[in-house]
């Protein structure tokens, strides 16, 4: 009886501590919440910006829009977070994912919270789109930025299919339903339709930059460089595409300054490690998605 009690208490202790530990790991982002204090939240956007949900062994270097938006929401809801520093090191990625993140940032700023962008090695295309939804953009002199433009890439595997003897039979409800199919060449009409989409997305990109950089760059000046070219951080400063040159710590100082926080105000990384996703359990789902493939996707990259 005594032995059972001792072992029972031990097992109970371990069970409780397992639950507490898992809770601690899962809610790592929320740790350090300050009661009545003020902090700067850091949201990291590293790698290709993607709208895909889940994350596993293959997603170590992709920026998932859902996770990032969740972190922005967290910053919005938490009273102790007074300003957010976006640390972006991304070549861009999904147009929709970039738009979604930028929209969420706009909502955060509407709540009166300041957003400062700190550019890493690269903050181009979709990454720059997101940066335009911040109050201040800080780049390093050698940061690669810009690449304002839209690209849609389609593969025509018609020749390959012929060689391997694959012939696709298509039954469609409308003439454009298989637009962009990899088994045939685009028709002129289809090309025009897709070009319209790319053009419209490009206009949206320009609007986003002009809105975010209002008073800092004119439409004419922007059009001169918005041809997809990449530029350095220093060139971007001269053009008015960024506000200052400095590193991550300068961006933190800027965030403190704009939010009126003391110099020693704490910093918290809001999109830290996700316990369950880091186990890589969703890797099969991801592979399945990749195999099914969405053959058309607008990309800001």
């Amino acid at each position: 009886m005594n032995k059972k009690l001792v072992v029972g208490v031990l097992v109970l202790f371990l069970a409780v501590m397992t639950i507490v530990s898992l809770w601690g790991i899962t809610n790592a982002g929320g740790r350090g919440k300050l009661a009545g204090g003020s902090a700067i939240g850091v949201i990291e956007i590293n790698g290709v910006i993607s709208g895909e949900t889940g994350g596993g062994l293959l997603s170590g270097y992709s920026a998932n829009a859902m996770d990032i938006m969740e972190s922005i929401r967290q910053a919005r809801e938490r009273e102790d977070i007074k300003a957010v520093v976006l640390r972006i090191d991304s070549p861009g990625g999904s147009a929709v994912a970039s738009q979604e993140i930028a929209l969420e940032l706009d909502r955060l700023r509407q709540e009166g919270k300041k957003v400062i962008t700190s550019m890493g090695d690269m903050c181009t295309s979709g990454g720059y789109w997101i940066a335009c939804s911040s109050d201040y953009i800080m780049a390093n002199g050698a940061t690669l930025t810009g690449s304002i433009g839209v690209i849609m890439q389609l593969s025509n595997l018609e020749g390959l299919y012929e060689k391997v003897g694959i012939k696709e039979e298509v039954i469609k409800s409308g003439k454009h339903k298989d637009m962009g199919s990899a088994t045939r060449t685009l028709t002129e009409e289809e090309r025009r339709l897709l070009e319209d989409i790319v053009g419209d997305s490009y206009d949206q990109f320009l609007d986003q930059v002009l809105k975010g950089r209002s008073g800092k760059i004119s439409r004419e000046k922007l059009l001169e460089v918005a041809d997809g070219r990449i530029i350095s951080g220093r060139q971007a400063l001269e053009l008015g595409l960024v506000d200052g040159i400095g590193n991550y710590y300068d961006a933190l100082d800027k965030a403190r300054e704009t939010a009126g926080l003391p110099e020693d105000s704490p910093v918290e990384i809001l999109n830290g490690i996700d316990f369950w996703k880091s186990l890589g359990l969703s890797v099969l789902g991801e592979l399945s998605e990749q195999v099914q493939g969405r053959f058309i996707e607008l990309r800001y990259q």
Binding site: K3, K4, V6, V7, L10, F13, L14, M17, T18, V20, S21, L22, G24, I25, A28, R31, G56, L57, S59, G60, Y61, G272, I273, D274, F275, K277, S278, L279, G280
Partner: protein, 191 residues
Amino acid sequence: MSFTESIYGVLFEPAATLRDLAENKPYGRALLIFLAVTLLSLIFEQALMVYNDSETLKILPANAVWMFNILGALLSVLLLLVISGLLSLISEIIYGKFNAGGIMVALCYASIPGILGPPVHYALSLAGVEWLGAILALLVMVWVLVLQVIAVRESLQVTTGQAILILVLPGLFSLILLTALVVTVLLGVNI
């Protein structure tokens, strides 16, 4: 011996319990206990790293941390098998006594107190007395080391001194090899 009795025995009557386990060799249960101890420790250690805002978690990609941890857990099982065989071999060469299976089972059970260190450390860290947690975790490590000596002693029916020597020899041998390797590299001798 029931599960409860074996757990209680390892904690409070280690010599008799480990001797009995080394004789009866409940392999499956022993390996399950070892795996449970390893995996639970992994979770507690990860929680501690998160709590301490560990630099490792910032440097390594999140996936890599867990991959390394899981690989480490699997490797520790392999290492257990190798070490058990090695200790038995050393004992056979020096003292003419061998019991690889018994050593493996006894070492698995000897790891049980190790499950207490990380959660106690974590709990006390949460309570604001991390230093006490660290000391207790260290004491638990010493406890496990003592149990390992007892496990080897009871499995091979040797004296405590002989058990310590058997346990220390592989490490000593590795150290000599490593030193020789470093000296060779430093002297620029071509092998």
